[in-house]
Symmetry: D3
Subunit: 245 residues, 6 copies
Amino acid sequence: MPETGMNEAIRAKLLSVSTATLTTIMFKRGFRNCFIGGIFPLNAEHARMAGPAYTLRYIPSREDIDQIKVFEDRSHPQRRAIEECPPGHVMVIDSRKDRGAASAGDILIARLWKRGAAGIVTDGGFRDSADIAKLPFPAFHAGPSAPTNLVRHHAIDLNVPIGCGDVAVYPGDIVVSDMDGVVVIPRAIADQVAEEAVQQTLFETFVQERVMEGESIFGLYPPSPEAREKFEAWRQQRRASEGEK
Amino acid sequence: MPETGMNEAIRAKLLSVSTATLTTIMFKRGFRNCFIGGIFPLNAEHARMAGPAYTLRYIPSREDIDQIKVFEDRSHPQRRAIEECPPGHVMVIDSRKDRGAASAGDILIARLWKRGAAGIVTDGGFRDSADIAKLPFPAFHAGPSAPTNLVRHHAIDLNVPIGCGDVAVYPGDIVVSDMDGVVVIPRAIADQVAEEAVQQTLFETFVQERVMEGESIFGLYPPSPEAREKFEAWRQQRRASEGEK
Amino acid sequence: MPETGMNEAIRAKLLSVSTATLTTIMFKRGFRNCFIGGIFPLNAEHARMAGPAYTLRYIPSREDIDQIKVFEDRSHPQRRAIEECPPGHVMVIDSRKDRGAASAGDILIARLWKRGAAGIVTDGGFRDSADIAKLPFPAFHAGPSAPTNLVRHHAIDLNVPIGCGDVAVYPGDIVVSDMDGVVVIPRAIADQVAEEAVQQTLFETFVQERVMEGESIFGLYPPSPEAREKFEAWRQQRRASEGEK
Amino acid sequence: MPETGMNEAIRAKLLSVSTATLTTIMFKRGFRNCFIGGIFPLNAEHARMAGPAYTLRYIPSREDIDQIKVFEDRSHPQRRAIEECPPGHVMVIDSRKDRGAASAGDILIARLWKRGAAGIVTDGGFRDSADIAKLPFPAFHAGPSAPTNLVRHHAIDLNVPIGCGDVAVYPGDIVVSDMDGVVVIPRAIADQVAEEAVQQTLFETFVQERVMEGESIFGLYPPSPEAREKFEAWRQQRRASEGEK
Amino acid sequence: MPETGMNEAIRAKLLSVSTATLTTIMFKRGFRNCFIGGIFPLNAEHARMAGPAYTLRYIPSREDIDQIKVFEDRSHPQRRAIEECPPGHVMVIDSRKDRGAASAGDILIARLWKRGAAGIVTDGGFRDSADIAKLPFPAFHAGPSAPTNLVRHHAIDLNVPIGCGDVAVYPGDIVVSDMDGVVVIPRAIADQVAEEAVQQTLFETFVQERVMEGESIFGLYPPSPEAREKFEAWRQQRRASEGEK
Amino acid sequence: MPETGMNEAIRAKLLSVSTATLTTIMFKRGFRNCFIGGIFPLNAEHARMAGPAYTLRYIPSREDIDQIKVFEDRSHPQRRAIEECPPGHVMVIDSRKDRGAASAGDILIARLWKRGAAGIVTDGGFRDSADIAKLPFPAFHAGPSAPTNLVRHHAIDLNVPIGCGDVAVYPGDIVVSDMDGVVVIPRAIADQVAEEAVQQTLFETFVQERVMEGESIFGLYPPSPEAREKFEAWRQQRRASEGEK
């Protein structure tokens, strides 16, 4: 396993398919609850990421403990998370869907990007959202939140199983995003899901071309035997033309 | 009645006025609940539409019924809706304000656009939102939702009265949108509402010009007798200058 | 005190710092609830404002009282608010977080801008949102709402203490915004908060530069004694180079 | 006008009819939004009250102002409200539907009861709910809330128009309750509404008797001409038998 | 099939088991979403019912259509529903989880009870709740709501598939309740589910007895082979003693 | 420290005061967020408990992992929690405020009671609520929920810091309840808080007596110097009379 925690060929495949397609593949395998909705990327130009989950758990803050000086402690989990999240990983924060205070801000997220992380996800909100939006880095949240983290959150655990947006996230799960949101795939099946999604995407590309040419979806989506044949022909032609290049 | 289900002159009038103005006209007639809020167009360049409602009703899905194979059935209401919605009509989906799974995706919406529909509205969410946003087609939702339709929805009825975003929608009602959202007008009064809205819009254009020149809203909005006279003069001058062109 | 209700040097300082930094300074002074979240600027190019609060209080409308003709009365508080809000002030509306009808529309907001107000904030929604978005004027709301004001709101009071988005707003409080949202600072401490925020911003600029060069946040944010020294050197160099200009 | 602020015969009538009947009468007059729902009486044995509204307005608390010592000030509006609410009146509190801290507790409510108030209503919560439930006094809230008032609320105004549970309440409006919740009737029409409600209640008593004897609601509710005749006969017999007593 | 729409022996079995046990049996068969939560019985002494669903669908009301006189029409679906729901059936109303107006009131519910229905369920609220609570009749709602039905609802359909509390309800589905809420079982599997639930309940009765005698749940719940043997012995003894009676 | 985890004299004091009084004492020490609201006791006769927190953390369930057979594993955290929670402790469950499936049922709660626990709290719901309500055991939830735990929850951790109802709960924190809800007190200050609450309660008993005799709250609550004197006299008389017994 590379330091980045996943096979780069699989990562590339996952980056070439949509979360919509991935949730369909997951649904066929019995997974109905693997999509973190209600969050969006701060930088729409950088909405795509794929990588293993590295988690950070927050609990509600307490007035006597969560004073501004706590960040002076190097072992504070929020700061450790930023410096310890391995390259190629996606940091996923359980903020209990509470956007009342920031899950993180621009300095920490810039550092995370610099360290080579694949992206960051919270079911709460980030502060300094305009500055984060300028980074070429996938960052997903439920909306901006200026108040300092300690107003609502206390970082308590690194890399334990968490909930994020009502979805279970285990460390190492493969996290994939696009403009729709974020899908979480159990590590053990990520390769097969990626492969199946690539195939499904190829088919949907074919379908979309037909639809754009004015064809009905009846007999096309899902395909009749005849449409399957046409798809096969289209696929071979495509491969051939790609081979020519 | 044309195939598109409405008089094109009325459609043009409705496309020239705002939903804000339309809800004011509706309020004067006793309608307080005709605006579907909390939804927005995926493509801000294509936020305007006007057309008769063609409805699709969803109920919650059930695990034994709503398996992926259901879409192989040509009579499945979601697929029929896409192929049967008449040109010029707006498909309105009752998704019970549940954004937990997609109301539709890019292939179906592209097909609906190709078939000449005027637009599509759900009080849930669409998947493949980035691709839908590229279509020159008015599509309104409450936010993206990647999971496949069957995770939460079961298409059950075509073209029956529904609720969408807490508003009653009867087949044939005239549906109009802009960046604010979507207004639903009973068919029987749509012509009069359109006409009154055009008049009101003309007046508000006059007012906005005055305001931009630094005039107070007192005596202007609503107008004093004197302001009414000025408006009349402005209107005639405008007509005259339009006549010249 | 100038007509604009605040010292312009303080306003300039507040416009140079983020709401994130301001909420941190406020937190250090014991203020945990001074940020109005869940609202955003209609025109992202004009998200920054700072000025004293001028308030407008709405209560729920009542069918017999809130008929369209009420606006003919010059003493109607909504219309008076628009014409009486002093230059340089921020109009803050208590809409009870109810986005079911418009807090205001494009004509009133254009007039307010023309009159020199610094901005407008509601915890409800504005109508004609596309037109408001074209004004070079900071306007914050929770999302668009076409229905006419009277469907849900009745303007009752001018310039009394209100709640807006669960935050207390007293007339004269200093209101500051950016893309994250809106922070409310008690007038009596606004100068000190502004000064401290400027200092903190300078330090964070230094930190961000270090982070962009690849430095760890450990020992930097918050700073070790050594990092403090480096910051001092950086600050003096910066001053020197600014002096050169 | 008596000190209790209303005609006692009207009060008696209102106490003899249900809030359901009252909202129907109000609906016939065009009032759709006069019922405060989602609140309930702490003491189910004392769910009925009727009286003029005396209002108290809360805004969100602010950490520097709302310290425990504020209650030492006799002019603090919460304490004044308790001592100044006239006998026979219903205190209605605008708590912004925030149940995060108590609107009041058992001592203040006991004092209010002792002073002869007709009841108390909040769209937030009361503390010491078990003790309040033992008082023979109508008190309505959305659910218990132990935290001291100042955690969320700041009492700011006495006897101004407010919103309570999304309903407008003007001082002097007639407030009536039962187990369903609380209805607010504009003072000017309260007498007529009461009278009409008494008549409607008499009819519904007749209907309920018929239904209990097994009669169909068709032709009964609403009544056919024949059913109206039967009702008239029933009413006269009832009057006669009451006359005999 | 009897007029009551179900086998009375099955009904008796379902009335002898809990909704908790039924949802477990359903979960084993792949049903995760068959429980209508957030609703409760008005009369806690009459929380148990079992019977086939007879459905009523509401959409949002519209001001011009939904005037008080509509109830004079015998074919109004709400009134027809009350007179046509077959004996032994449970009326289930899709109120779109909107408690802003009454789904029904005491007169209609009394009539439904008189006609022999098994119960009534809404995901909205009933009015005259105190009077309904006195009927020996299972009626479930989300909380009381005094406003007349037409303020929010328009009855549109009888006995079509609906959603109630986010759960799919098809006419004829078997509906079972207790103090926890309401479970919906597809008709085709109701007999088997009932049988399996009776067996599971017997086992849980045995477990609860052991627990009350101080036994650990380890090895008991779920049972070890040894515990299974003990249960078998207990069951036979129970049968024997029942046989003696 | 006794096996029950706390000094029994402190427990007795805490059981003699209300959560309302405790939150006031906490507020004076700077704690604004220590009350778990929106939950209530299933058995109103057993609403009082006090004891150290023993925590159980749930994350969202995942379809492949959370199958019914998982409970056969003795090390399953939910089952271990029930058998390992020390006597005198309060089990507090982080259910992420999700009432969509049961946090626990009657068998587990009966076992917990038998083992001598002081009570159980969830911010979700319990199943078999009618049976739990018959146990002489404090159990707090947000409302009943029949679906089996695995539909929404996966037990992951024992006795780690958690959030429950937006409040931080650290193992060993002292948890106290009454009909209003549940307050969480940091262990280190529990003794002082208890003592101060007992004093405050004594004073409020005196105040309530005065109020019941018709006295004004002005000068009494909070007390004037004169009222303090009267209270002192009352306290000494009370002690004396208690001494006589």
